[in-house]
């Protein structure tokens, strides 16, 4: 498997001291990769840096073999990347349908109607809400709109920042199931997740960060079985 996204020695921050230092990992095509770690480990910063929302101080980010470290966010969308922020991830005053439509503006898909239909098949709950302002939906439904919006440009890679944050356990499972469905459509997923144990169960690979640096990497199974990782981040014994 060739790497779709390759990060080498990435150091980045928001102007002050770097938040992440010398972070390296690969994301293979069509896998679900998860970034784990305690609060303040720099997990979200990694996603923001990949998506050109923070400054790269040093290191390289390769997407399909192209160095994208100095590209703008809009250019990354055109290259086939999209992202869902953790909070404020929908346009609240726009309808669900308009939210989905906005997702196509930066990189229009070949057949917008077909793409929209494909997304509504993945998220059938949204079909009845298309004309409703996204701000009126529940947290879980909003998350679906946000992921749907990010998928409207038919990305190769989608970056998700804590897609299950603040959701009820029932929705949490649904979102994880949906991520598996999304992967089946050929999309690669790189996400940050607090619900580490559940995330590792669906992930192909996990990358643990501590204090902005690589701590451990491995397959989901390996990390779930790893004594250090389990003791520090997962709590309890393996299931």
């Amino acid at each position: 498997m060739s790497a779709l996204l390759s990060i080498r020695g990435l150091t980045a921050g928001y102007g002050g001291p770097p938040i992440i230092e010398d972070v390296s990992f690969d994301v293979a095509a069509n896998e679900i990769a998860v970034i784990l770690g305690p609060n303040g480990a720099g997990k979200s910063t990694v996603l923001k840096t990949i998506f050109a929302l923070t400054k790269v101080l040093s290191g390289a980010i390769d997407f399909e073999g192209t160095d994208i470290a100095s590209r703008k966010t809009s250019a990354l969308v055109t290259l086939g990347m999209s992202a869902v922020p953790q909070s404020r991830n929908v346009f609240r005053n726009l309808t669900v349908d308009e939210n989905l439509d906005v997702g196509t503006y930066a990189a229009p898909p070949a057949d917008k109607t077909a793409t929209r239909e494909k997304i509504l098949e993945l998220f059938p709950d949204l079909r009845a809400k298309l004309r409703q302002p996204a701000g009126e939906l529940s947290g879980g439904q909003r998350q679906m709109v946000a992921i749907g919006r990010a998928m409207m440009c038919e990305p190769k890679l989608i970056l998700l920042d804590e897609p299950t944050a603040g959701l009820s356990p029932a929705y949490l499972e649904r979102i994880f199931d949906l991520l598996l469905d999304i992967r089946k459509t050929g999309v690669t997923i790189l996400m940050v997740e607090q619900n580490a144990r559940q995330a590792l169960q669906i992930a192909d690979h996990g990358h643990v960060l501590v204090n902005g640096r690589n701590f451990a990497s491995g397959t989901g199974k390996e990390l779930l079985a790893d004594e250090d990782v389990r003791r520090s981040f997962l709590g309890g014994t393996p299931e």
Partner: protein, 297 residues
């Protein structure tokens, strides 16, 4: 009753149209660029003088020359954004607000420099008789034109914002600029369109005022406060709210001087602007989020 309609209601709707057109620009600029544009009144003046200049060369109804005023206002607005506002974009918005005060002064001074400080009247081919309906209603043709034009613009703007890609992008940026960036939207293009629409509507509004009274360098500056009141009243950042706010302020100003009780004006016309603000404050006490909060447009 007839007097009420002829001398208060229609003039109220006409000035309401002017406020509405100006307030839309203020509201959109606030929604997308996140700052109170204090040069908007003077941008209106610039547009008006653009038409005046064209009217000096082409002797037709000045309303038909409005594209010249719109074009001048648009070019000036885009230029000012590029030179003054864009470099301040990443700084706290107060810098841009103060800068817009400076721009307002520049606009006013340039108008005085090029066209002089005296009042100038549009030569619209002599006194135009009012429109007489059913032998009783006598309404200024210009007032009818202002109301109709504003209604058409409101429909067009609604269509533009809700159906077109640029319009939806504008609403998306207004809703959440950070998410708009994450979605890969071209925010600078959205900013350009905001200026284009705001400046064009300001020029139209200015022309109506100037044709109704006269053109002078303070024309737009004098209208700035009621336009801001209208924009705030409508729920700032909501173009359709600003339109509604414009009509409420315009009507409140005119109707307050009607002799509702006895034969005297209820409130002296000199207090018109104060009335606008009392209405704004009163409505904001009842509805602090503005009229159109939570609505789509």
């Amino acid at each position: 009753m007839i007097d009420f309609i002829n001398f208060y209601l229609f003039p109220g709707l006409a000035i309401g149209s002017v406020y509405a057109l100006g307030a839309v620009g203020i509201s959109m600029i606030f929604g997308i660029l996140r700052f109170a544009h204090f040069a908007h009144g003077d941008l209106m003046t610039v547009g008006t003088y653009g038409v005046l200049a064209a009217a000096g060369i082409i002797a037709i109804n000045p309303l038909l020359l409005v594209p010249f005023g719109m074009a001048l206002a648009i070019v000036v607005a885009l230029l000012v954004d590029k030179v003054f506002y864009q470099p301040l974009r990443t700084l706290p918005t107060i810098y841009t607000v103060i800068s817009s005060f400076g721009v307002a002064l520049i606009f006013r001074s340039l108008v005085q420099m090029f066209w002089g400080s005296q009042n100038q009247v549009f030569n619209s081919g002599g006194v135009r008789p009012p429109l007489v309906l059913f032998d009783t209603f006598r309404i200024s043709v210009l007032h009818v034109q202002a109301v109709l034009a504003t209604a058409c613009i409101a429909v067009a703007l609604h269509f533009f914002l809700s159906r077109t890609r640029t319009g939806r992008s504008m609403r998306a940026v207004s809703d959440d600029p950070e998410l708009a960036e994450v979605s890969g939207l071209d925010t600078e293009k959205v900013v350009r369109w905001t200026w284009i629409i705001g400046a064009a509507l300001a020029a139209i509004a200015g022309l109506f005022v100037a044709m109704d009274t006269s053109a002078h360098p303070n024309l737009g500056w004098n209208l700035l406060m009621p336009m801001f009141a209208a924009a705030i009243l409508g729920g700032i950042g909501k173009p359709m709210g600003a339109m509604a706010g414009g009509y409420i302020i315009g009507l409140a100003e005119e109707l307050s001087s009607y002799h509702w009780i006895g034969n005297e004006a209820l409130i002296s016309p000199s207090y018109k602007t104060a009335v606008a603000f009392v209405v704004m404050i009163a409505l904001l006490i009842v509805r602090p989020q503005g009229l159109f909060k939570g609505r789509l447009l």
